[in-house]
Symmetry: C2
Subunit: 128 residues, 2 copies
């Protein structure tokens, strides 16, 4: 999977159309593990974006990048996610406290929210 997350106003946004092999137990619907992966990737990227912004910086500004790993990821599957359409994942900053950034996550397809979640991301030291 290759995709990029972007900051748009107050939100971090990822748009992605899964390829057809990522169906799961229920035909025509996206595999839950892929959805968790999207929230995981996007949540860590969003945490980095929000952390840079909080310091008056931008991702890729040439300074030491602020990198994050997932501490805890919670994924709530609210309705089946359809295959064959673009998915949008939105992240909103909940809190920043020291090395910990909490991001609220929402995945939608065709305007309907299919999955919500929360990531607690932890900043990793630059030498790792």
């Amino acid at each position: 999977m290759r995709f990029r997350s972007y900051l748009e106003g107050d939100e971090a946004v990822l748009r992605f159309t899964p390829s057809p092999e990522y169906t799961g137990g229920v035909p025509g619907h996206v595999y839950g593990g892929l959805l968790a992966s999207l929230l995981d990737c996007h949540g860590a990227a969003a945490a980095s974006g929000f952390a840079h912004r909080a310091r008056g910086r931008e991702v890729g500004d040439g300074g030491e990048p602020l990198r994050f790993v997932t501490g805890t990821l919670t994924v709530v599957y609210r309705r089946p996610t359809p295959m064959g359409v673009e998915l949008t994942v939105r992240g909103r900053l909940d809190s920043i406290s020291g090395r910990k950034v909490v991001v609220a996550l929402e995945l939608s397809a065709e305007g309907e929210v299919c999955v919500t979640g929360e990531m607690v991301a932890i900043q990793i030291p630059p030498e790792l």
Copy 2:
């Protein structure tokens, strides 16, 4: 990914060695999305196994299978998960209540617990 989950005593167990492309942001460590996917797949399989057992049945006994989807998955990354070794995911039944089965999950590598989690799985009607 292809793997099977098995009931062993009170636990549902999955053993899996990720192929090398499933590394993530941190070199030498398994990608968090793959770990979430393993807990997702195994949690749903474990829920089915426990539900069959609770009715005195076995998975694949020729009766109508009891199938589950993920309601909520929580994944806590406790330490980096090393690449190149077999991972073991264990699920224990927390509760069964109507269509809802709660499974406690634990992923370990080389005897150390790397990831813990919880799945709330929901039984789906047989016609889906």
